[in-house]
């Protein structure tokens, strides 16, 4: 295992164990800024970890970022590792980031679907869902981005356990989802929630389960426009942005529809790049540029959240 997070190879994909070891190294190297929380256990009893970046205080307003909820979207977990190191590296010399952390905490869940991720590394690289068993079906797993209590079971998800968009037997049936629901509910002071997927270069905001525009649509659209402009400024990667249902398709039981309905106004989903023809098999050489451009967009959202307390 690497001797430090400075020798960690950010331009390569890593196993679940290597990512968990990286997290422990980062915490050990930065005990005054980073801590590791265990927010639950998966179906296969793996721990679910969240990194907390905080300069102190209790229950401060916070920003949540998660990657890897769909396990085969490897560039997202790899970007999450890079974000973690970036926050540590820049928390003093980047005035914007420093001022965000002066007022807010950042929670980063790098491997949001550990069972699925381990499965992609051992049995099926194309696995997307969780690994929960479904009574009455030979098929396994639930789409963790259709399992939230927001339009759950509606159009835009499948009731077929063999489908890749199976919504599950009931809302929050998946421990990976329930763990976040409980964390967000108990914390009660999260002001921005960003869930990162790949691929197709999109920045999305609620809703996905209904055509009804969210009350804050105008503000979320403006933030998206600025965030996408910042992202594109680095390597020219073209993004589209808008609400889920108008930009891609109807999707029910989605993460950020639930978080928005909990009152977390700044709820966004990213679909990171494939600007070429690799899809989920994006070459490792593109991890760092993808993470770098995404970070610029994340900072726009975080700065806006800092400057618009509610």
């Amino acid at each position: 295992l690497p001797l430090s997070t400075s020798t960690f190879d950010y331009s390569s994909y890593h196993s679940l164990d290597e990512i968990y070891a990286f997290m422990d190294l980062l915490v050990a190297e930065n005990p005054n800024l980073v801590s590791k929380l265990e927010i639950g256990h998966t179906t296969e009893n793996r721990p679910i970890y969240v990194l907390k970046f905080s300069k102190g205080g209790t229950n401060r307003p916070a920003i949540w970022i998660d990657t890897g909820i769909h396990s085969r979207e490897w560039v997202t977990q790899a970007s999450g590792v890079w974000f973690a190191k970036k926050i540590v590296q820049d928390h003093e010399n980047d005035s914007e980031l420093a001022s965000i952390l002066d007022k807010m905490d950042i929670f980063l869940e790098i491997v949001t679907n550990p069972d699925g991720f381990a499965f992609t590394q051992t049995k099926n690289r194309m696995w997307r869902k969780t690994r929960s068993k479904q009574s009455g079906s030979v098929c396994v797993g639930v789409d963790p981005n259709r399992n939230w209590d927001a339009g759950f079971g509606g159009s835009g998800a499948s009731k077929n356990p063999c489908s890749d968009t199976y919504h599950g037997p009931y809302a929050n049936s998946e421990p990976e989802v329930k763990a976040i629901v409980d964390f967000v509910t108990n914390h009660g002071n999260i002001k921005a929630f960003i869930s990162i997927h790949s691929y197709s270069q999109l920045l999305l905001y609620p809703y996905g389960y209904t055509t009804t525009p969210v009350p804050d649509q105008e503000e979320l659209h403006e933030i998206s426009e600025k965030a996408v402009a910042a992202l594109s400024s680095l390597y020219g990667t073209k993004y589209k942005y808008g609400s889920i249902i108008t930009t891609i398709y109807q999707a029910s039981g989605g993460t950020i529809d639930w978080t928005y309905n909990q009152g977390i106004k700044y709820s966004f989903t990213f679909e990171l790049r494939d600007t070429g023809r690799y899809g989920f098999l994006l070459p490792a050489s593109q991890i760092v540029p993808t993470a770098q451009e995404t970070w610029l967009a994340l900072k726009v959202i975080m700065v806006h959240t800092r400057d618009h307390p509610y």
Binding site: Y13, K123, R125, D164
Partner: protein, 93 residues
């Protein structure tokens, strides 16, 4: 371990509503075991679908019979998976 030898990823860009509907109908053909990487979402948007080897010919014939153009985005999925594994192994070494 699931292997993807001979699997291809096709990129289809529906040019009109009729083509979009035909592509959407593919999602219900479970016997083809299609894996939609990018699901159909509108005219002009790419639909990327991983096609197991046994379904390749039937699907291509179906698309051509309906005049739906497509391109081969990934010639052999397993080759990319193998390359990715090799890179991971080299890095961890």
């Amino acid at each position: 371990t699931e292997t993807f030898v001979g699997h291809q990823v096709l990129r289809i860009i529906p040019g009109n509503d009729k083509e979009l509907q035909k592509v959407q109908e593919l999602q219900d053909l479970e016997e083809l075991q299609l894996d939609f990487w990018l699901a159909p979402r509108g005219l002009g948007y790419p639909v990327d679908v991983r096609v197991p080897f046994p379904s390749l010919q039937p699907l291509k014939a179906h698309l051509e019979a309906n005049g739906i153009s497509y391109s081969i985005m990934i010639e052999d999925v397993q080759a990319l998976v193998d390359h990715e594994q090799m890179e991971m192994f080299r890095s961890s070494r």
